[in-house]
């Protein structure tokens, strides 16, 4: 009897669910207005199917989570659904042919989120089998290096990075799944070392951190993984992402500030070295330093992106009324620039605000779980994964930092990225609910 289930719910839970419902309705309102614009512009109703699927996913997730995780954080799901819905709009505006596929991925991602929220023992199992997970993830990474392809360049003539594995009818990007696996592994490893790390803190004058194998081991592991990704896959973004997230985790686990400083120096040093050694890194840094020397050539993409931001103005050109297609591959790495052109400053402020709030909520969940090291570190790792990735690509697209090819979480085109972002959301929701070991 559903009526009865509602009446037995605690008052603060009802309040929580009302907050989530309100935000979802507002997100739906925004998407509806833009879908109307799109159908006025195109004179066809084909884009409504995406909106209907989005509404279906949002309602299903809201209702099922109310039942299964009544005490969850009320903000994370609306944020994820809002940005994912906006991403669908951007993609169906840019490449209508890709939008149907992305809509299917949205359904898959929502299912994954619900499954992650559903399994009570998930955290315990992940923790128990962390080495199996890690070696599975590394095996898949090696497989990608050996068998990887690029969907835009199946024969490998163009020499584009081969980060995908061909599974017949669709492609998956294993480095996306590796994100969660690495965070789970590091969180459980550092949680195990937590008492020792914190004990060394008490012994401050005599600490010999850098030499202690319990610190040095994971640093070496992460450094090796990052270098392997950089050298064999030329995937600069993922390499730097893994290293920065790992550094954050280690800092949170140990509370030792010099770690951050030495990590930053290490990243800069590695950057300088990579500048000498790898063409892809040199290219990225050169066009970041001064794109205007080669604005029609190698820096074409970043210059077009800057022009898109300028063209957006305050209100934006309006959906379907700008020219974001002049940016090469606008639907994936440069989705943020396409958004800036059509939704303007207001759109940019909202998307930056939403991603920031997502990260803050993740850290808040970490604080609320601070008596349990594994849960804390997992929440910190997952939310900083999203935050660092967002900063890297937003900064890159705006030419604030050298461009590193990562997707903008939730927004960019790409099934693996969307599914992994939703899985992270599901894990954070489960952590925010409190129970489970």
């Amino acid at each position: 009897m559903p009526a009865r289930a509602i009446s037995t719910r605690l008052p603060f839970e009802q309040q929580t669910h009302a907050v989530e419902r309100r935000l979802l309705i507002l997100a739906g309102l925004f998407l509806t207005i833009n879908t109307i614009s799109l159908s006025v512009l195109r004179g066809s109703l084909s884009d409504w199917i995406h909106l209907l699927v989005w509404i279906g996913c949002a309602v299903t997730a809201h209702v099922l989570l109310n039942w299964r995780l009544p005490g969850r954080d009320p903000i994370l799901l609306p944020l994820a659904m809002f940005v994912a819905g906006w991403g669908l709009l951007v993609i169906s505006r840019l490449f209508p042919a890709f939008a149907d596929r992305q809509t299917v991925w949205l359904i898959v991602a929502t299912l994954i989120l619900l499954i992650v929220g559903w399994l009570r023992d998930l955290l315990r199992v992940m923790r128990a089998f962390r080495y199996t997970l890690l070696f599975g993830g590394l095996a898949v990474l090696v497989m990608t290096i050996l068998l990887g392809v690029n969907p835009g360049d199946p024969t490998g003539v163009l020499g584009a990075p081969t980060l995908w594995i061909d599974l017949g009818s669709f492609y998956v990007q294993p480095s996306e799944a590796l994100k969660i696996i690495l965070v789970v592994f590091l969180a459980s490893y550092l949680a195990e070392q937590y008492p020792a790390l914190r004990a060394e803190e008490l012994d401050a004058p005599r600490r010999r951190f850098s030499l202690s194998p319990r610190i040095f081991g994971p640093i070496l592991l992460m450094w090796t993984i990052s270098v392997v990704i950089l050298v064999w896959q030329r995937d600069l973004g993922t390499a730097i992402l893994f290293f920065l997230v790992f550094l954050t985790l280690l800092y949170v686990a140990s509370g030792y500030t010099p770690l951050l400083l030495s990590g930053a120096l290490l990243v800069i040093g590695a950057g300088l070295l990579a500048y000498q050694l790898f063409d892809v890194v040199r290219l990225r840094i050169d066009i970041w330093w001064n794109p205007w020397l080669d604005a029609d050539g190698r820096a074409y993409q970043i210059v077009q992106s800057l022009m898109a931001f300028a063209a957006g103005g305050v209100l934006g050109q309006g959906i379907g009324q700008g020219a974001p297609l002049s940016i090469p591959v606008a639907h994936s790495d440069f989705a943020f620039a396409a958004l800036a052109e059509e939704w303007g400053l207001i759109g940019v402020i909202v998307i930056v605000g939403v991603q920031a709030v997502f990260a803050v909520r993740g850290l808040r969940i970490a604080i609320s779980q601070r008596s349990k090291p594994f849960q804390t570190l997992l929440a910190v790792g997952l939310s900083s994964m999203i935050a660092v990735q967002t900063l890297l690509i937003m900064g890159g697209v705006l030419k604030l930092i050298p461009l590193t090819g990562v997707t903008l979480p939730f927004l960019s085109y790409g099934g693996s990225s969307l599914v992994v972002s939703f899985a992270i959301t599901g894990l954070l929701l489960r952590l925010s609910h409190g129970e489970s070991s």
Binding site: R22, L23, L26, F30, L41, F82, G318, W343, I346, V360
Partner: protein
Amino acid sequence: MTNETALFLLRLAGSAALLLFLGTLFYTLLQDVRGATAQIEAARRSYGRLVLLEEIDAVPGSSGKFYPLMPLTSIGRSPTNSIRIEDTFASAEHALIALRSGTWWLEDRQSRNGTSLNDMPVTEPLIITDGDVVGIGSHKFRIELEP
């Protein structure tokens, strides 16, 4: 209405919806922060204090040493107590002051030398009020409750 006008109005509506979403989001966060602050304030709420008394020429007066009064305040020699006193006449776990349904109670925890309330021995849990003097070993505390 031409298509251009309609699209322009929709663009305005879309921007308004975006700002509405962001505004609601920030309002929710503000409510959340307020709730958390209220919770912390409630937890930090002070109930009163125990003033350590000192006898000068047989007249008890404040020694200038204060201890916070908590809903469960234990007093004794052992370091596990909320108030630890160095007193050879006090037992390891000597006495307990507890807030039970709005009333403060003083009880002796089978101490060797006993606890006193206003110089009368405590044999069973007693209700205490503002200004009462609790004696433990050679120490005397005056209870100062906050309204």
